[in-house]
Amino acid sequence: MRKFLNLLFLCAVGMHFTHAQEKSLYQEISLTDLSAFTGLEANWQIAGSVDADLDTDYALTTEPGTGVLVNLPTDKAKSNLFTQMEHGDIDLELEFMMARHSNSGIYLQGRYEIQLLDSWGKTQPYFGDLGGVYQRWDESQPEGEKGFEGKAPRENAALAPGLWQKMVISFQAPRFNSKGVKIQNARILRLELNGRVLHENLDMTGPTRGSSFPEEASKGPLMIQGDHGPVAFRNIRYQSFDPLELTATSLSYEVYQGKFEELPVWDQVEVAYEGKLDKLSQEVVRENEKFIFRVKGEIDVPHSGPYTLYLGTSGHGTLLVDGKEIVPYGLWVRPGTIDLEKGTHNFEAIYHKRDAWYPNGLGLEIEGPFVRRQPLHALSSVPLDAPTNPIGIDLDREPRIVRCFIDYPEAGASREMRIVHAINVGFPSGISYTYDPDRANLALVWRGAFLDATPMWDNRGDGSSRPVGLSLPLGAEHTLGKLSSMEEAWGEKIDDTYKFVGYSLNSAGIPNFEYELAGVSISDQIMPMENSPAFSRTLSFSKNPAGTYYVRLASADKIKEISPQRFLVDQTYYIETSKGKAQIRTQGARQELLIPVEGLDKPVISYSIIW
């Protein structure tokens, strides 16, 4: 029990990215024109939208408009692009789209390359694949030994050509002493691609191959490689940080003993003991329950603007800055935001512990304009018990099937829906899916490892596991429904005649889901495609059910018909149909892709999901 809580606390207090960051502090690089960039040749353009072709090398087509930065290199024009902006420490987010087999790169400070490549489908990525940190290069070495270092991504998190992909980079610039001698390497604090962490705390000893500058420096522009192939970008946002560490100073504390239901009026209670601190920590508290620890101090903030403070208390607590409550009295970790002028401010953290069944812990973190989120507390002030050993379920030589609760991420909301009868199937080739037998629904697909069963198998567990890999939610609703007209909305519930029968395994161990609907037996098989890391799904009906039944393949904001058999869903994944005629219909703000169950004799509907 205690370990679990400590882990919760560590995750929440000790690590970044667990809370949505203050987006208002991000600056957007304008893509209404090219004025944010230098070094431009005609290969760099602004467009309204782009499409890449899944089957054609280097094919990228544009539509007029703004908001998308496109590189269409030719023999004559293939320059690299530099931002006007120069950066040191930075958090950078951007979306990009690769043309098939295309190649580019993002050079942090114009020096350290994060590789962009169409690595879709590759099983063992190396440093030259998407998300890899490219090699360094030493011309003085003999042939074959010039390249050195370079770091492969932890996994291949590449999406198919033509889909928007997202990269989030936290970068720390190299540090130099007053004589200009480097004292700390440049570092990737964290790099995420499509939600997967590919690098953490990775030192880069110097510029990688293709750097625009031979020497390292505190600042430099972002550079995007333009000579290797078509690529597009949008939503480029960043936040720059000063290379400094804030500290809490002038610290003093008071401890009040006894059981308090709420915070007391301070002058009506007696201080049990008090003193000064040279670091922000609750470790001076001698009790492990029934106390209030009240610590006051000062913070010197370097810039005016909105600051977010994260108070973490194992137990209750509240935070005041300049006498104003910014984190209300409550439990565990929570943020509060306040506008602060440059200069020194008072703060007061109150930590109220009522129970003994978790260890003492107090943490305080700050982020703000040019201030990267960082702890003000001493590391030892938060519990540092060993986290639980993770329990993974790996893929095997045959398809692996595991039933458990799966939390389906609901689009646009933090709320999650729990699929309680989920059947998860992982294939040796490294792709997996979640099937919801209550709705005959293919709910989630992912590429990577299979499941993290720690939430289910550690201690009592909560019955759930988590997909491990690059996952794509396909919708939590039922797949089959009856529509009396194309105007009728898709029902909230699956037909009452629906009954899940079970699943059989074929000789290769691949499950075939069987169910009944309107008196018709339906077999539903989802299996990997032969030549791409994608799934095909085939629904076979024993006969045509009475009434107009449809299979709903997708529900999305925008579904684009690329060809009668190929559809692009929110530029997030493709659907290809092989049996059945798909049609797009618009329902309010949403679009749906439907195939009617047609034909009198044993209708079959077949389509694939490509992402």
Partner: protein, 698 residues
């Protein structure tokens, strides 16, 4: 080779231990029912969620991690280790398995699944969803079963969930959680009975359905309960659905809440976890039976912490001559205490009732599932993940074999119009058995309330008015004063010896749940050996007319108790010389293993019970931890109320029995005599492993 040695050792063990018995040494359970361990391949996480014997004698084992194994050669014939064949994979935390017509039936969390091997390759290839039931997705929504009745219908059961804010309150979030349900072979689902909280044990006894629950809110102690369609057996969560048309249960939530305060928070108030209130009248569940139609009280209570803390499976012995003298009786497993109890049922006035005894303990992990081998030996599937158990292993598969020798036991106890008839397994020594002083009887019950568990309440000592021993020396009829219907009667027969070797009873205490007192002739007391009234005054414990103190406080007022001072003595002007903080680690461990203090120094010791079961911390004289632990165990059913602190000079200092999440600081002066003292938890089953060294130095 290793297995061969084990095999040889096993079969050598039995004659050796019997010769020890012949030499007049102390006999133990293992002299009669030795426990063997089956080897499990490294890395195979075989947490026993379900266990069944197939017609060929192999076992079907449902591991909690979801795979189904067929254990081939579990008997280790020819000295060969068992072979584990994976039959099916990836089920959702299955906690029960049955075998019928060449297929397995398994209850997953959300589905009764039938596993077919249609192509005959030894692996399941059709996972049939016989019936899927709703779940909310709460962790505690485990499901158990099936057990298959004589008519082929199957029964499954489902745990309640708990509140998000009121995490202590069992609740039924979706229909038929907290219910036992019947599923026909064609998948037809019928809710059958409710009031269950954690119904891990299901069994068919003589064609009737029984279930066993775990102590918790509304459930004072574990028990064996006869289930008929439409019964309500205690926990009100499932009543949320009793007004649905499918419900055979007619009692409503309001029926219960209007009679027993559920202690819900008032609107706008923060909910507070209800605790035992000694000032309240101790309501009992059986009192509701008089007011409401459809209440079913337990057939046999299993007193908490004495005969287990987390009841698991029900397994009838039936006609099994290879398992000793207890044919027709029932075994009931216990996860938390890694042991098995034995019960014997009878029907009086057409109502089930009966007696419970200790049987075998000392398993490696928590006893969850049991099945009979083809040779009449008992296989025991074990796991303790999430709850801990006296046996420290995470999982185990073991086998209990009867040695062939008859232990000296109370074979059974039957209710009589004026007392009880005890039947023994071996002829008794008539001098001891006919002496009323050889027996002690007290009766008690548990409270029915929304609080977790219950202390023993409304207890009374019953006078033994006379004893009559049968001619053959196999039965003793005891005439007992003040029998109380529906109460549990603790019968101790410590003084009775066997004729042969003068053995004491292996388990001298019986717990008889007296639902009905039979009619019939009473014995003429004047003809019986009767108790000396003066002696009885001496042995009779002080009668407590008032309800008991809470289990979380000892009966001695703390301020007067030199062994448990919970406030700092005023004389300690400068505070303690040393402050010690102690908590727990999983697996029955204190998180600090050694404490070193100066002789005679002032100590403040804080014990924070951050575990999920109760513990105390008792500082004892060097080398006495076992004796103190045994004495605490000997407190029997009263131990809970005493916090498992026996009267013992070897106890120097102690905390009270701390419920999960509770902390206590005690103040004491360290012994002046240097040495290695011990601190130990004396909660039953814990003292053997949960201890540390309290080192006193100059």
């Amino acid at each position: 080779m290793n297995n061969l040695i084990k095999y040889i050792l096993l079969f050598c063990l039995i004659p050796f231990s019997l010769s020890a018995q012949n030499a007049g040494e102390v006999v133990t359970e293992s002299d009669y029912y030795p426990i063997m361990t089956l080897p499990i391949p490294e890395g195979l996480n075989l947490e026993g969620g379900g266990l069944v014997t197939m017609p060929d004698g192999n076992l079907g084992l449902a591991a909690r991690r979801g795979d189904i194994y067929i254990v081939e050669n579990p008997y280790m014939e020819n000295g060969q280790a068992p072979h584990y064949r994976k039959f099916a994979m990836g089920l959702h935390e299955p906690l029960g398995i049955a075998y019928k017509n060449g297929t397995f039936y398994v209850a997953q969390r959300g589905e009764l699944t039938r596993l077919w091997d249609k192509n005959g390759d030894g692996e399941a290839d059709f996972y049939e969803s016989v019936h899927a039931w709703p779940l909310s997705g709460h962790y505690h929504e485990y499901s158990y079963g099936p057990v298959i009745g004589e008519d082929g219908n199957m029964f499954v059961s489902g745990n309640v969930a708990f509140g998000d804010v009121e995490w202590w309150r069992g609740e039924s979030r979706v229909p038929w959680r907290g219910w036992i349900s019947r599923i026909q072979p064609d998948g037809t689902f019928e809710p059958w009975a409710t009031g269950v909280r954690s119904p891990c044990g299901l069994g068919i006894i003589d064609g009737d359905l029984f279930y066993a629950d775990n102590q918790g809110d509304w459930i004072g102690s574990g028990a064996l309960v006869h289930i008929e369609k439409g019964d309500f057996v205690g926990h009100p969560a499932g009543l949320r659905w009793s007004e649905l048309p499918e419900s055979p249960v007619k009692i409503t939530t309001e029926d219960i809440y209007s009679r027993v305060d559920p202690k819900m928070a008032k609107p706008g108030e923060m909910p507070i976890k209800p605790e035992y209130d000694a000032s309240e009248r101790p309501n009992t569940f059986f009192e509701l039976e008089e007011e409401l139609e459809g209440i079913k009280t337990p057939a046999i209570w299993l007193p908490h912490s004495v005969l287990g803390i987390s009841t698991s499976q029900i397994l009838p012995i039936e006609n099994n001559p290879n398992f000793g003298p207890f044919e027709g009786q029932i075994l009931i497993g216990d996860q938390g205490q890694s042991k098995i109890a034995r019960v014997s049922l009878e029907k009086v006035n057409n109502v089930y009732q009966g007696v419970a005894f200790g049987f075998v303990e000392g398993f490696r992990s928590g006893v969850l599932r049991m099945t009979w081998g083809k040779d009449g030996s008992l296989f025991v599937g074990q796991t303790n993940r999430g709850w801990g158990s006296t046996g420290p292993e995470a999982y185990a598969l073991q086998r209990v074999v009867w040695s062939g020798e008859t232990p000296f036991e109370m074979k059974t106890v039957k209710a009589m119009p004026d007392g009880f008839e005890i039947e023994f397994t071996l002829p008794v020594d008539k001098a001891t058995a006919s002496n009323p002083a050889s027996y002690q009887v007290m009766s008690f019950i548990y409270k029915y309330h929304p609080v977790y568990g219950s202390p023993v309440v409304r207890d009374e000592t019953c006078l033994i008015k006379g004893v009559k021993v049968s001619e053959d020396g196999l039965k003793a009829r005891i005439v007992v004063d003040k029998l109380r219907r529906k109460f549990i009667h603790e019968i101790q027969a410590n003084g009775v010896k066997s004729t042969d070797q003068g053995l004491s009873l292996l388990h001298p205490t019986a717990y008889y749940t007296l639902n009905e007192i039979p009619d019939g002739p009473k014995l003429d007391i004047s003809t019986l050996a009767s108790v000396n009234p003066q002696a009885s005054v001496v042995t009779k414990p002080k009668k407590q007319a008032m309800p008991q103190a809470t289990p979380t406080s000892t009966s001695i007022a703390p301020s007067e108790n030199q062994k448990r001072m919970i406030s700092m003595p005023k004389s300690w002007a400068n505070g303690p010389d040393q402050t010690i903080s102690m908590a727990t680690e999983p697996g029955l461990q204190f998180d600090v293993k050694t404490v070193t203090v100066k002789a005679g120094s002032k100590i403040k010791l804080t014990f924070n019970n951050d575990d999920d079961m109760p513990h105390n911390l008792v500082v004892v004289r060097p080398g006495t931890a076992d004796a103190v632990g045994t004495a605490a165990l000997g407190l029997g059913v009263k131990g809970m109320n005493l916090g498992y602190i026996p009267e013992d000079v070897n106890i120097l200092h102690h905390t009270q029995l701390l419920q999960p999440g509770i902390s206590e600081s005690i103040y004491f002066t360290a012994p002046t005599e240097p040495g290695e003292y011990t601190y130990v938890c004396t909660y039953p089953g814990h003292y053997l492993i949960m201890r540390g060294v309290f080192k006193v130095v100059e």
